[in-house]
Symmetry: C2
Subunit: 526 residues, 2 copies
């Protein structure tokens, strides 16, 4: 049995405040810095490694973090989760996204079925459907193949799948496995749907409507928008649309859709990229085999996260150092900086994953906590960010810990040599240079050109951003967020904070307003 | 003469700490909240208004902010800037981006010319060129029209122009003034250029190479990448490429380019959207008249910012409230949340604008300051963000002030009525609902469903996102950042913090490394 305790009840919490602080600038200088780079590295899976040399820890801090992991029973809580305990206490739900990509522990039975079998069956159903679309067996009314897939969804039904699609699009082109182009409609702003519809040939497009509940306002509105467009083009909407939803939703088994694929209440939106939510669009875009490789990578990441030794568990180490930076060193943000254009929307996905999971002020029993929880997450790809907000990261008055991601090889294999180096080498040289510039800074008598250093970072390094590597990186961050939620004793799997706005928006549309709400509504002519 | 003083030297600084705090939840409740919504509004220009009802100020706080504005001579410092004083002391340069869109004060003479005349002459030169491209007088070797324009630039030569293009693309389609599609290559990651080149027809593409110095590593590398592609397609690169640069750069007056357009050292990259840097790509994409309308809006914004009365000066009010939130209330971040999909990259541009300008620890004389300066800026469009990171904004342990933007009408005029309301009405209802949910929260015995409220926000409201409105919004934020820089006594116009990384990257590529830098370089196989 695991025991759920607040972070500040732990003996290791107090110990963590008192362990001597590490000066990143000092420890990263000279040969000691080189030794750290070699020692402070954890093999992940699929050729990836997590290097935390430039984060503000040493053997003593790591020792206390290991005690914390043990005292807060991180490994046991993870096992409870994947073995099917009701971890999402607020909504009284299991938390099973890891099960969409592999079996980690016991069989999990719920709703009268083995849930692993259920997720596999949906993946198989999607595979059969996608293969038929690719072969032309499922086609438009004129017997022509579908060439474009358009996902209609918002939040977790949009950000994750979109980020994953962008991450693999060029890889798929280079590896000649791009089967269909994918587009995404998310915002209720009518100009979003108008723009996407204007950029595609609807007669050859297949739409994937994604809503777990089948009641998401934005998504149903955009569905109606798309159906109008299909109708205006003289097309039968029901032959151009599939649904991804829960079995109990109004969209399930509905003749308005060509087919339906299911997830369930145990898959949170922000954790749904490896379920049918990501599976449908990614299998259509890249082929089911690519999606399977992505799942394999994620499962490998999940397995790696079961290791109770934090020195061999990258997700757990990353989580605990993050907690240390947040609760002991007082840093309020974390920047995610992938040196890969393919990961351009990955920070936006992590922003949701992390901030929606751990941006909470009450523990899993609904009691207010007395410590800070999830940080603000933001980021853009390097080298672009270097020419933008890095100024503040280097010389601003507050310190922001950084999470870099870099790959030895690019995805397309296409490159040029300019001034003796390839673009990929320049890209890698830049990420390495930034880590050291942040860590060690630079003395200068001109204070305007002085860099204080001491700005911590870690880096995930991979051989290439393949589907397997992407899956493993995704799992790393999902499991990191989960472990941090365990440390803070939060329920990382509900999102009550998004409800109030929905309720008030409905009131505004019904004209049921007074006070400032009415005054604002008037200003916007509603 | 203006007097440059640190923020904490001011009498109003001390006063600001002591003025009674405002409880946003309390003042925004009931009829008082409605009164604030009506009273706390400042007309901007072009039908825009800035509403700060839900920010943590009242008459007393505003009174002290007005004193601060006066004591720190914000209006006089702005006048000094636009009248041509050397405000960028670090680099010993004038700061003249406002002059690219209109004359605010005295004639500014530099480099032996009237600078307003210089900027206008470049705009005219671009206009003539763009019109010739659109008419087909300037065309490819086969005599066919160019259909696509591709900007090659990074940082300020990318983020601003890209954000502005995306902001107006659908407006231009709806108003039948989209002359050419625009694409952008920025990252040194070779997959970025590969992907863009793979998505266009190079034979009908015109490339705009943008680098003020003519030496930006990423941009020159991508230029070589593009020239290779043109050569491989059997095309003469010099007939497909123009340069935007300074007159003294190696790219100026160079036969390798079809034409060159100039900016100068008085236009910082992040302030260059209204110079030739934005002017070339936007005039080619939308026509010179649209770019002129955008400039007009920006100039209107600049004029509005000259008003010494903060209650009639939105940029100054926004700046001062931001300083109050940062330095007195201790908030470390600000989120920018446009309820307009067209503004999807506007937060990324503001992130650069703000964080690169004011993310500094030394004052304009190079002396360390004893107060916090620029906050972390991040954001995504609503309603998407609502289904993502808003959880933390509503219920997280830290407070993040919010800057909303909303429009009464969408850009395309295309919309559908679902359940009695249009998508645009739903979009507007959501932004209004969010403001109130953040401000007033909701009591609930279940603490998991409890919203503390007291989370401040303001909103810029417009009729529609037109070129004029976009210009005015851009100028608002540029001038806000400028005023905050004046308050903090910073030089907001240099960016020394981006230099160290460049130096170290060059060392890595030269193999000139030791210690941790060498160890990291080895890990990345450089």
């Amino acid at each position: 049995m695991v025991s759920w305790k607040n972070f500040d009840e732990l003996a290791s919490y107090k110990k963590l405040q008192d362990v001597p602080k590490v000066c990143v600038k000092e420890v990263m200088s000279g040969e000691n810095g080189a030794k750290r780079v070699n020692d402070y590295s954890i093999d992940m899976s699929n050729g990836l490694s997590f290097n935390y040399a430039a984060r503000p820890v040493d053997e003593k801090v790591v020792e206390v973090l290991a005690e914390l992991a043990k005292e807060q029973q991180l490994t046991e809580k993870y096992a409870a989760l994947y073995n099917g305990e009701m971890i999402n206490t607020g909504e009284k739900r299991l938390v099973l996204h890891q099960l969409t990509r592999g079996q980690l522990g016991d069989d999990v039975m719920a709703d009268g079925v083995n849930k692993r079998d259920f997720y596999v069956s949906q993946q198989e159903k999607i595979k059969v459907f996608a293969n038929k679309v690719h072969s032309g067996e499922i086609c438009n009314a004129k017997g022509e193949k579908f060439t474009t897939v358009v996902q209609i969804g918002i939040g977790g039904s949009d950000l994750g799948p979109r980020a994953m699609y962008i991450a693999l699009e060029n890889w798929a082109i280079a590896n000649k496995t791009l089967k269909m182009n994918a587009k995404f409609i998310s915002n209720v702003d009518p100009d979003d749907a108008t723009a996407v519809l204007g950029s595609i040939d609807v007669a050859h497009s297949l739409f994937v409507l994604v809503s777990k509940s089948g009641t998401t306002l934005e998504t149903l509105t955009n569905e109606a928008f798309v159906k109008d467009a299909l109708k205006n083009a003289g097309l039968d909407a029901s032959k151009h649309m599939v649904a991804v939803t829960s079995e109990t939703s109004p969209l399930a088994n509905n003749p308005e859709y060509l087919d339906s694929f299911y997830m369930d209440d145990y898959i949170g939106g922000r954790y749904s990229s490896t379920s049918a939510v990501g599976g449908c669009v990614l299998s259509l875009a890249f082929g089911p085999e690519v999606f399977e490789a992505f799942l394999k990578g994620a499962h490998d990441g999940d397995v790696a996260a079961t290791n109770p030794d934090i020195k061999a568990n990258a997700a757990m180490m990353d989580a605990l150092i993050g907690v240390y930076e947040r609760n002991v060193l007082g840093y309020g943000c974390q920047a995610v900086l992938p040196y890969s254009q393919a990961l351009s929307r990955f920070p936006a996905h992590l922003q949701q994953l992390d901030m929606e999971s751990n941006g909470k002020s009450v523990n899993r029993f609904g009691e207010p906590v007395n410590y800070v929880t999830g940080p603000v997450i933001f980021g853009e790809p390097g080298t672009n960010g270097q020419h933008s907000f890095y100024q503040l990261l280097h010389q601003g008055t507050n310190i922001t810990p950084l999470q870099f991601v870099g790959f030895r090889n690019n995805q397309t294999g296409n490159d040029v040599v300019i001034k003796g180096s390839t673009s990929q080498q320049k890209l890698c040289a830049n990420v390495v240079a930034q880590i050291m510039a942040f860590a060690c800074g630079k003395d200068d008598d001109n204070r305007n050109k002085y860099f204080a250093g001491g700005r911590p970072s870690s880096i995930i390094i991979g051989e290439q951003l393949t589907p397997e590597a992407l899956g493993a990186i995704l799992a790393h961050f999902e499991n990191k967020v989960m472990f941090q939620g365990f440390v803070w004793n939060l329920n990382s799997f509900d999102q009550e904070g998004v409800q109030l706005g929905k309720v008030l928006a409905t009131k505004v549309l019904a004209g049921d307003t007074d006070g400032a709400l009415a005054a604002y509504a008037k200003l916007l002519n509603i």
